[in-house]
């Protein structure tokens, strides 16, 4: 009987411990989902598949990508080959444009495209 009672106590203790451990973890997950810390901005193409990458050239080419935080005015330049950027302020609004050079060597850019939030 003593052995049986001891076994029952061990089972109760194990179940209780698992329950205590799971509660904080679930609270942590819930906190993370409700308060994002960054915004992952993605795009499938720079929109100019027929235009060569500059790679040091300054004629008829695409150079880089500007990600603009429209809330603060801060702009970040990322490589033309990038397809994503992690913005630090998830509550701000962002816009993205493509930069390059025309046939006379003048800097040209696309219109800013506002980032829609999923």
């Amino acid at each position: 009987m003593k052995r049986l009672a001891l076994a029952v106590l061990m089972v109760v203790a194990l179940v209780g411990g698992a329950g205590c451990g799971s509660s904080p973890a679930s609270k942590s997950t819930s906190l993370s989902e409700s308060e994002p810390t960054s915004l992952l901005i993605t795009w499938s193409s720079d929109g100019n598949p027929l235009v060569p990458v500059c790679n040091g050239a300054t004629l008829n080419c695409k150079k880089d990508i500007t990600v603009l935080d429209q809330s603060t005015g801060a702009a970040v330049t990322v490589p033309i080959t990038s397809s994503s950027y992690t913005a630090p302020n998830p509550s701000d609004s962002y816009a993205v444009r493509i930069n390059g050079f025309d046939g006379q060597g003048n800097s040209i850019s696309s219109q800013y495209e506002t980032v829609p939030i999923k």
């Binding site: 993205v96 444009r97 025309d102 939030i117």
Partner: protein, 165 residues
């Protein structure tokens, strides 16, 4: 989204070509002495990426010219005759077509550059080929044309989205 636009200009640099070689035997073959023209043809799948990334939306250049020969077309005897034309991309330094393709009666040629027509200026020359009375090869001075494809605007990125993390 703003469409990508390109400026196309065709420039005939040297519309006239003059007698090239003074053959020791008469008559010498004539030369392409009239205007050489070139027209760009737009690709039908301009939105699709290409194997070569430096190409424009143009896939083809149509060349045309006028020519008044002063000798007959070559037959079995390669003397005092015109064998045809040679078209050269002088920007790349490559021969595009020879008399085996451009015979003495040819007045046009459709050129499809591998990967498409590149951005920037591409210059071309056309010469007439023939033989003098001794069977020596003769080449006219070239008629030339340049094709310019310039980028003027850029499109914005596609499928843009933001995902809070």
């Amino acid at each position: 989204m703003k469409k990508t636009l390109f400026i196309l200009s065709l420039v005939v640099i040297a519309p006239l070509a003059h007698a090239a070689a003074q053959a020791t035997q008469k008559p010498a073959p004539t030369v392409p002495r009239n205007k050489l023209g070139a027209t760009l043809v737009t690709r039908s799948n301009a939105a699709a990426p290409l194997a070569t990334s430096n190409a424009s939306q143009y896939t083809q250049i149509d060349f045309n010219w006028l020519y008044t020969p002063n000798a007959p077309a070559c037959g079995t005897s390669l003397t005092n005759c015109i064998s045809g034309f040679t078209l050269t991309d002088t920007t790349l330094g490559s021969v595009i077509a020879t008399p085996s393709t451009l015979g003495p009666t040819a007045l046009s040629f459709a050129y499809l550059p591998s990967g498409g027509v590149p951005f920037g200026t591409s210059a071309f020359s056309l010469v007439a080929n023939g033989y003098d009375g001794s069977g020596n090869a003769l080449t006219s001075t070239p008629a030339t044309v340049s094709v310019v494809v310039n980028l003027t605007t850029l499109n914005g990125p596609t499928n843009l989205s933001g995902q809070p993390q």
